[in-house]
């Protein structure tokens, strides 16, 4: 049989344990919460750091890749970029250009004859607090374009706008497709709708493209995607420079589609600058 004082002491020990545990647990919980917040912030910052300032796609005809690479070498020499073009035949070539303030990187896919190139801040050497002026990137892009235009078959594709559509669970992409089709029909533009998949028998991804003179608009979606965001990208396609008409038309179509999609229920439309 326990004496009253022993019973009280045991209860006291239990309470003491609870108080100590509460204190340690609460502090520990705060540390866990702070660490998670810090981790999320760091990953967001590093993702932002890695985002390209400019992106461009160049398509050429077969047999002109050496001519294109030669133009890149000339551009690099003129603008003081160290350059390396590495062959990963038969699939691709890797292109990298480095300067103290900027680096340019890209991949040329041999089967599609398409090169995707992006311009970044050289974050190793350039303090994030002093980002390079956008005009520097514009000048480099313009200069690169003059070299690329020496390749007779080169078509440059430059993304001018992006609409990001954030949806809810009740979202039906048929509404988006209907609006895009209506836009294409209204302006007598070529509308292409296709299914594709890495497994050809499956075909669960859809791709929509609207083509006009000197521009195209594209979006794609895969049923199995867990992210409920759609991107609609507006591109200019040109050989030497985009025509004023194609630029103006693309801007108008962008504004029109943005207002059309803004009327769809359960969708938020955001404009992302390239």
């Amino acid at each position: 049989m326990l004496t009253k004082s022993t019973r009280l002491t045991m209860i006291g020990f239990l309470l003491l344990g609870i108080v100590l545990g509460l204190f340690v647990g609460y502090e520990g919980g705060i540390v866990v919460k702070t660490s998670v917040k810090e981790m999320l912030q760091n990953s967001k910052e590093s993702a932002e750091k890695g985002l390209p300032i400019k992106s461009v796609t160049i398509t050429i005809q077969a047999g002109q890749e050496e001519l294109l690479f030669e133009q890149f070498r000339k551009f690099a020499q003129k603008n003081f970029f160290a350059i390396r073009i590495t062959s990963f035949k038969p699939s691709s070539y890797d292109i990298e250009m480095w300067r103290e303030d900027i680096n340019i990187g890209g991949l040329f896919w041999i089967d599609t004859k398409t090169l995707s190139l992006s311009f970044h801040n050289n974050h190793f050497e350039q303090p994030v607090s002093q980002p390079i002026s956008e005009s520097v990137f514009d000048d480099l892009m313009n200069d690169l374009q003059t070299f690329i235009s020496e390749v007779p078959s080169a078509i440059t594709t430059e993304r001018r706008h992006r609409l990001i559509i954030t949806t809810t669970d009740n979202w039906r992409n048929e509404e988006l497709l209907a609006q895009m089709k209506a836009l294409a029909e209204k302006h007598s533009l070529k509308y292409e709708f296709s299914f594709y998949d890495s497994d050809p028998s499956d075909n669960r991804c859809l791709d929509v493209e609207i083509h006009g003179e000197g521009f195209h608009i594209t979006t794609s979606d895969c049923e199995r995607d867990t992210i409920e965001d759609f991107n609609i990208d507006f591109y200019l396609d040109y050989h030497k420079t985009p025509t004023a008409t194609s630029e103006e038309t693309l801007d108008k179509l962008f504004d029109e589609l943005k207002s059309l999609l803004g009327n769809i229920d359960n969708a938020t439309v955001v404009n992302e600058q390239p």
Partner: protein
């Protein structure tokens, strides 16, 4: 049992209480407490200092400039560096020489009149610390290539 071994049970109660408190404290903190303010990295206004890990000086016969440049390109290819050799905007006598890779880089100048190439060998990211043996391994190949040029002189400083 309880009466026979009171000390054991006091200890058990202490730990049991501690465990219950820990659990509730943790849950309480996760739901109601605010995370501590995160100190932002003070982003420097100027680039971080990036001292050269090795400094290389090469002297050649100025007539053999093209041979030197060919060997620099060969070295860049061997170790997968992007490379730039170009006359500076201010002078036809001075050439910018730069070899760039994601982890390590070389940068310097070649002076055509004296036949002297001065290069610094750096970590590309000032914050990273590549082992010094990485630099020395690559420099062995570099020295071998330079020594192929007759009457060349190669020196490295740590």
């Amino acid at each position: 049992m309880l009466a026979k071994r009171p000390k054991l049970f006091m200890t058990i109660f202490l730990f049991l209480g501690g465990f219950i408190g820990l659990l509730f404290g943790c849950v309480l903190a996760l739901f109601i407490a605010n995370a501590k303010p995160i100190e932002k990295d003070s982003t420097p206004l100027t680039p971080l200092p990036n001292p050269a890990i090795r400094t290389i000086t090469i002297t050649i016969d100025p007539e053999r400039k093209d041979e030197l440049f060919t060997r620099l390109e060969k070295f860049a290819d061997m170790w997968r560096y992007a490379i730039l050799i170009a006359p500076t905007r201010s002078s036809e006598n001075e050439y910018v020489v730069s070899l760039y890779r994601i982890d390590m880089k070389m940068a310097g100048s070649y002076f055509a009149d004296s036949g002297i190439l001065e290069l610094g060998f750096y970590n590309t990211n000032p914050k990273s610390r590549n082992p010094q043996s990485f630099f020395d391994n690559e420099l062995k190949d570099f020295e071998d290539l330079i020594n192929e040029i007759p009457n060349s002189n190669y020196s490295v400083q740590k």
